[in-house]
Structures are given as C-alpha cells and as structure tokens.
C-alpha cells in the first residue's frame, strides 16, 4: 500500500520528477540528433561541449533570444494559450507513472510516484487527447492556410489513433484487472508459469499484438515520423506551428518531446513490467534505472523509425487506422476475453 506522505513531500517528489522530465526532454533532442547522425553517417552536434552535450542548452538560449512574431491577422489570445495547452497536458500526464513502490529516504516513507489514481491509465489517455487542442487551436489562431491544414490533419489523426491506442490497452486491463498503473505494474512483477521456463509476466509476452498496435498508434498520437502529417514540411511549410517563433515555438517543441517520453514511460510500465528487472526488488534505484533503460529503448525506436521510414500519405494513414488496426485490436480484445473466461472456467 502507498504510504501516507505529508503534502509537502508529495510536492517535492512531483518537483523532482517534473524537473528530471524537463532535463530528459532537453537531452532527448541531443540523443535524437546523435542517433540520427550516426544512422546517416554524420557527426551530429560536436562544437558545444564534449560530444555536443551542451547543445540543448545552446538551443534553449537561442530560442529564448529570438524575436517573438505574432501574425497581424492572428487570434491573439488563442495564439498565446495554444502552445501552453500542449506543454501542460504533456507534463501533467507523468503524475500517474510509478517509478517504484514506497521506499525509505532519510527516515521518511516516500512514494516513488506522484499519485496512484485508480484510473491512471485512462488519465494518461485523457490528457493525451486534450493535448491535441494545443495543435488545432494554434493552427486556427495563426490565420495561415498551411497551419489550418496541419491542424485539421492533426485533429482527424489524433481522434482516429486515440481509439486504437485506448482499445490496444483493453487487453492489458483485462489481464491485470485494474486501471491503476501501479497495480498493472505489480501484476507484471510475478512469474509467468510455463513449465521449465521462468519468464517474467510482462504483458508484452501475453499481449504481443496489443503491444505492436500500441506502438504504431503511439507514434501517430505523438505526431512523429512516419506519421508527422500535421507538420509535413514538404507540403505544409511546417504545418500547425508555421507562424510560431521563439519561445512559443519552443513550447510546441517541449510538448512534443515530453509527450514522447511520457508515452514511452507509459509503454514501459504497461508492457515491459515497469521497474521490474534483476535486482529491482532489493534496490529501488536499480528499479528506476531499469524503467529508464526501457524508456530509452522506446525513444531509440522512435528515432530509428524517423530515420528509416518515409512519411505516409494521408489517405494511407487513415486507411491503416480504420481498416487494419481497428479490426485487429478488436480481435485482440475478443480473443483475450475468451481466453480469460476459459481460464476462469466460465466457458466449457
């Protein structure tokens, strides 16, 4: 059971987690540039600090120092708030991700999560779905046709893939019997009984189809290549954030990368056992390390996809969601439910 923490301690945990997330986002950009450079036989950033490690800071200073342009025809208030929506919703989603159980630090019982909501998994999906308002409102407020087209694409794409994303998780919910991310993680920290083989009960093993579909939908939900239609630079200049510059643009940038990190943390918790790994029972620090390693693996996968695959055509994108992924994910739910019933002895 989670310990009863005083409120200030909860704020400390939240403060630490969110700041680590922000720094993680900054270094995600460095990681992406380095990995992409390696895959394309380039060097990537090298001038700023050793191995270009100070590049994110240089980028940040550059973005803050640029001129803040607002188009004359823009809807000023909406234009101002739209980037904040995507940034705030992205960062708030991390509140339900468990980084471990309850541990004792300096004599105080500390929960290694901000809150254990009983609908935690749906909470992440809900904030993901609010985040799209940042895109479509920003696109509308820019009073630019390229932006508007990007916003319309984002709206249709996110609504379609949200359904896939949510349904892909239904199988996981059925097996774990809970919507709380902490309980889903605890369910996976048992052993799968397969005779001589002792495998961890990670849901990637029992729900492989759901995992693959989740990964595809997650890439589309975060508007990343090859599903980055809303900001397709070959057709739409840069889509919904064409008119944004300086720190307003950086909020979109922050939001996109934090979204990627949160979705990866979420996937690691749901499908890869969260903090589960060798030695994680004894040392909670090791558990956090395992979770971060799994997250980095997912982030590497994102970058890998971006360097490998060309962008989808818009009708292909929609066709895949509704004609391929939706039937597959429904099939997954039916099969999982049936196996669950047979296992409980309620059928046959």
């Amino acid at each position: 059971m989670p310990a009863d923490m005083p409120l200030w301690l909860n704020f400390v945990v939240a403060f630490v987690i969110m700041n680590v997330l922000l720094v993680g986002m900054a270094y995600m950009t460095w990681f992406e540039r380095k990995v992409m450079a390696a895959m394309q036989d380039r060097m990537g950033p090298t001038r700023t600090g050793p191995a270009g490690l100070l590049q994110p800071i240089a980028d940040g200073i550059k973005l803050l120092g640029k001129e803040d342009l607002i188009p004359a025809a823009a809807d000023k208030l909406v234009f101002f708030f739209a980037p904040l929506i995507i940034f705030v919703t992205a960062i708030v989603s991390v509140a339900v991700i468990p980084f471990g159980g309850t541990v004792e630090i300096f004599g105080a019982d500390v929960n290694l999560f901000i809150t254990d909501l009983n609908v935690g998994a749906l909470y992440v999906l809900a904030f993901g779905s609010i985040g799209v308002y940042g895109i479509i409102l920003g696109a509308y407020a820019s009073a630019n046709r390229f932006s508007l087209l990007g916003g319309l694409r984002a709206a249709a794409q996110v609504v379609s893939y949200e359904i896939i994303l949510g349904l892909a998780l239904v199988g996981v919910f059925m097996l774990s019997g809970s919507l709380s991310l902490r309980e889903i993680m605890l369910t996976q920290q048992t052993e799968l009984d397969l005779g001589p083989l002792a495998l961890p009960n990670w849901f990637i093993l029992s729900q492989p189809l759901a995992f693959v579909i989740y990964m595809i939908a997650a890439v589309a939900e975060t508007n990343r290549a090859p599903f980055d239609l809303p900001e397709a630079e070959t057709e739409l200049v840069s889509g919904f954030h064409t008119e944004y510059s300086a720190f307003r643009f950086s909020f979109y940038f922050l939001g996109e990368y934090i979204n990627m990190i949160v979705i990866s943390l979420f996937a690691a918790t749901l499908f890869l056992g969260g903090t589960d790994g060798p030695g994680s029972d004894a040392y909670w620090g090791l558990g956090i390390l395992w979770l971060l390693l799994k997250t980095v693996a997912f982030l590497f996968f994102y970058v890998w996809l971006r360097t490998t695959l060309p962008r989808f055509r818009y009708d292909q994108l929609m066709g895949i969601a509704w004609k391929v992924l939706l039937p597959l994910v429904l099939l997954n739910i039916v099969v999982t439910a049936f196996i669950r019933l047979v296992g409980n002895g309620q059928v046959f």
């Binding site: 809807d75 909406v78 909501l117 009983n118 609908v119 749906l122 909470y123 999906l125 809900a126 904030f127 993901g128 779905s129 609010i130 799209v132 308002y133 479509i136 409102l137 696109a139 509308y140 508007l148 916003g151 319309l152 709206a155 249709a156 996110v158 609504v159 949200e162 359904i163 949510g166 919507l179 055509r313 009708d315």
Partner: protein
C-alpha cells in the same frame, strides 16, 4: 468553509461562466473553446464526487473526441459569412429559452425530490468499496442490471456509424470501385462528374472541348469597367487573321 466546498464553487463558477460564453461568443471557435472549458470543469466536479472513471470518460469522449471534431468543422467556417447571431431568429431564441427553462425545472425537480425523500440509492461508499472500486461497480451495474439498455444504445450507435459511412460514400459504389482500380487517389469526387468539366473519352481525364465553340458570355460591368469572360486566349484579340 471547508476547502472542498470552496474549490467546488470555484469550479462551478468557471463552468457556468464558460457555458454562458458558449452562447454569447461571436466567434464560433471561441464558443467551441468555451465548451471545452465547460466540459473540463464538469469532469472536475466528477472527480470531486469521487467518480474518477466518469471524469476520465467525460474528458476522453466529449472533450477529446467530439469537441475536437466540432472545432474541426468550426475552423473551416469563415466568420464573415456567419449570420447575425444576436439580432435575428426570434423563433430559435424563444425555443432555446423554453428548452433551457424545461431543463432547469427537470434538474430542480430531481434535486428537490432527492432532498425531500432523502433517498440516496444504494451507491454508498461502502457498497462501492465492496465492489472493488468505482470503475468495477459501474461496470457491474452496466453489464448486469442495464444490459438491455446498453445493448440497445450500442445498436443505435452502430446504425449511426453505418449511416455516416453511407453518407460519405460517393453516389454509386461501383463508380468508386472502378476509380480505385484505375489507381487514382480521388476522395469521393470521381473524375468526370464535375459539372464544370465535360467528361473525357473514357471518363478518366477531364478534357476541355476546344473544337465546338463555347458560347461567348455576355460582357458584364463591374465597378464601371467592362469585364469580358473568355475561355480561349485568342477569342478577343485582334492579332493575326482569325476567321
């Protein structure tokens, strides 16, 4: 006053203010944004009542999906083309007020009857905890006591989905299929069906017929200058010898 009451009144005030904003706002997109704020605050009141599942579903379904599509349509509306919202349409204003009053009375009656009878149903905190939590309790009730209603609702939704697909299809399904076979990426607007363009020889390419002369349009005047509409660049020029 305890903190939760203060927070409730804060949420309720924002909720009602934004609901008024939906009706008052001139710009349709602003009205949509007000509706988003209103729905988010309704979700917040659900959370305050301990109904986290309902709150999250409210956000995912209404805020995250339906209102996104509503804004999708509203963004395409040119604000200059809109009719005057607050001056004309007396019938709609009266009907709107009437329906609002009826709804207010219904809600009032529901609250009153509950306060008078004191009946609270069996969804007490103990019963919900015994069922294993909010989500589980709701699921049990929905799939046992209200199973028939649930299935009927899903059937109605299915009919709606099929209707939407039928509406979105081009007039003849066979036409769409033949276009797909030819490998075009037309989106429900088959070539050759555009009234402005004559059909091509095999229906695949719109050809402007240059042999038969198109009827020369009458010169129109706009702003004092004579405008001449031509379909052929050589039609009105005097260069060269043209019969």
């Amino acid at each position: 006053m305890p903190w939760d009451v203060i927070i409730f009144y804060l949420i309720a005030a924002v909720c009602i203010t934004s609901a008024v904003g939906v009706v008052v706002a001139n710009n349709p997109v602003h009205a949509g944004v007000f509706l988003v704020i209103c729905f988010l605050n309704i979700a917040a009141t659900f959370v305050m009542m301990g109904a986290e599942f309902l709150a999250v579903v409210q956000v995912i379904v209404y805020t995250g999906a339906i209102l996104v599509l509503v804004l999708f349509v509203l963004m395409l509306v040119d604000p200059d083309d809109l009719p005057e919202f607050h001056t004309a349409r007396p019938v709609q204003r009266v009907v709107g007020l009437l329906l609002g009053a009826i709804l207010l009375l219904e809600v009032g009656a529901a609250i009153l009857s509950r306060t008078v009878t004191g009946a609270r149903g069996d969804a007490t905190a103990q019963n919900i905890a015994a069922a294993g939590g909010n989500t589980q309790a709701l699921g049990r009730v929905l799939y046992s006591d209200y199973l028939l209603a649930f299935e009927v609702v899903s059937l109605v939704l299915l009919v709606g989905v099929i209707g939407a697909i039928v509406l979105a299809l081009p007039e003849r399904l066979g036409e769409q299929i033949s276009i797909t076979r030819r490998g075009t990426i037309s989106l429900g607007h088959p070539r050759g069906t555009d009234a402005a363009l004559p059909a091509g020889p095999a229906g695949e390419t719109p050809m402007v017929d240059r042999e038969t002369p198109s009827p020369t349009p009458e010169p129109t005047t706009a702003g004092g200058r004579t405008l001449i509409m031509v379909t052929d660049p050589d039609e009105r020029t005097t260069v060269g010898t043209r019969p």
